[in-house]
């Protein structure tokens, strides 16, 4: 299980994947944290699939507007230059390839870039929300998650066991241990984070990894 520190590390590394001028959708949970680390040097517009382009900071108590929420149903504000629109328009933006980066959480990722993050058979089904649409629309799909499950089992596998959210959709995986790119030739380990070795990552990964770590 990721500690507060490892969640921050993952969020800070994910932020580096966002370029100045990007339109970005952050999923619910750990991906939402990325917003806290966006460099003031960059102009980044955050999209919320319930119909807001330009998520601002959380409101002060005086600013709370019950009609203004993000996709996680939290009260938010709208940033300068924001726009509101309906849900069909929101997903037209998503599916139409207009979002530069989407950062999502994950339960499992396969070596072909399949993502499972919406249901565990036998457990309560909550629904996929917008995840199945998002994984097909954004130009770059980044999954951020713990490297292993709560039971210590690898989450990066040859094939996903859980029901899929999307097939062959993931571009990069960032965990507390490192950064892995999904390429047509399979998974490539590009970065190893402090406190871990290449061997640690190989041991905790079920999928085959090509090692291409820049020193």
């Amino acid at each position: 299980m990721a500690t507060a520190n490892s969640r921050e590390l993952i969020a800070r590394r994910a932020e580096k994947e966002i370029a100045d001028g990007d339109y970005v959708n952050l999923g619910i949970g750990m991906p939402t944290l990325v917003a806290n680390y966006i460099s003031p040097e960059k102009t980044v517009v955050l999209q919320s699939e319930n119909g807001l382009l330009g998520i601002g900071p959380y409101p002060t108590e005086d600013e709370v507007d019950p009609d203004l929420i993000n996709a996680g149903k939290e009260t938010v504000t709208a940033s300068t230059g924001a726009a509101y629109f309906n849900s069909a328009e929101s997903f037209a933006m998503i599916r139409g390839g207009h979002i530069d980066v989407a950062i999502l959480g994950g339960m499992e990722v396969s070596e072909k870039g399949d993502l499972a993050n919406w249901m565990i058979p036998g457990k309560v089904i909550k629904g996929m929300g917008g995840a199945m649409d998002l994984v097909h629309g954004a130009k770059k799909i980044i999954v951020i998650m713990d490297h292993v499950s709560k039971k210590g089992e690898p989450k990066i596998k040859k094939t996903c066991d859980l029901p899929l959210t999307g097939k062959g959709v993931v571009d990069k995986i960032i965990t507390e241990r490192g950064l892995i790119e999904v390429t047509p030739q399979g998974l490539v380990l590009k970065e190893v984070f402090e406190g871990y070795t290449v061997q640690d990552i190989l041991d905790a990964t079920d999928a085959d990894l090509t090692i291409d770590v820049r020193e």
């Binding site: 009609d67 929420i69 996709a71 849900s87 309560v124 199945m132 097909h136 062959g168």
Partner: protein, 228 residues
């Protein structure tokens, strides 16, 4: 001029057992609060409800669930509701989970006279099982059919007496598409003004989609109050 109902009870009077209803809102934001309460009071049952979520245990569509008035729910995310979980697991409630963008587009298409469309969302997942898959420009898409409803219940900030609607901020969400996809659409508005008072350039839902109006105050309960 559209019918302006004097009460929510009067507005829902023609809604009968077994009908299909679209209900606007994302979470508790933009839900037609008084029309939902009137449906609970009326006790109409065996409803098919199309809505992104299903309220919470004590508010919104959760109230209809509690009284077992919903037969089938078509939604994208229903994780906030214990009673929903119980009814879904026991088989009392039929549930059709749909990716959120597909749900929005099914409703949009329904109102726009388009019977079906191809989308990439759900290809290669259990959502696409039994549905037609077709390849366009080297990528696979799944055929999804559109949705319409006997009644659409939507929530607006302002209406004029012609039935033009303006929504507030993220309370817009599914409401505009639902307004177009209902055979009969009732707009529950916080305020109803005379025709001509709204700027025609700022109308979100043109009056042609709206058959009746109800002016009603909204509680606007907050699901996740988050402050700085």
């Amino acid at each position: 001029m559209k019918t302006i109902y004097s009460s929510a009870r009067e507005a829902v009077a023609p809604i009968e057992d077994g009908m299909t209803l679209m209900v606007g809102g994302f979470g508790l934001v933009g839900i037609p609060e008084q029309l939902i309460l009137a449906l609970v009071e009326k006790g109409v049952k065996d409803l098919t409800i199309i809505s992104n979520n299903c309220g919470i245990d004590e508010w919104g569509l959760g109230l209809l669930l509690k009284e077992k008035q919903i037969k089938k729910m078509i939604a994208s995310y229903v994780g906030e509701n214990k009673e929903f979980e119980r009814q879904a697991l026991s088989g009392e409630l039929e549930v059709e989970l749909t990716p959120q963008g597909t749900l929005a587009e099914k409703i949009r298409a329904g109102g726009a006279g388009i019977p079906a469309f191809f989308t990439p969302a759900g290809v290669g997942t259990q959502i696409a099982e039994g549905k037609e898959i077709r390849e366009f420009n080297g990528k696979e898409y799944v055929l999804e059919e559109s949705l319409t409803a006997d009644f659409s219940l939507v929530r607006a900030l302002k209406a004029d007496t012609f039935g033009n609607l303006i929504y507030n901020k993220t309370a817009m969400n599914f409401n505009p598409m639902m307004a177009a996809a209902g055979k009969v659409t009732i707009g529950e508005a916080e305020e109803i003004v005379e025709a001509g008072e709204l700027d025609p350039a700022c109308i979100h839902t043109p009056s042609i989609y709206v058959q009746g109006l109800l002016q009603a105050e909204q509680e606007k309960r907050i699901e996740r109050l988050t402050t700085r």
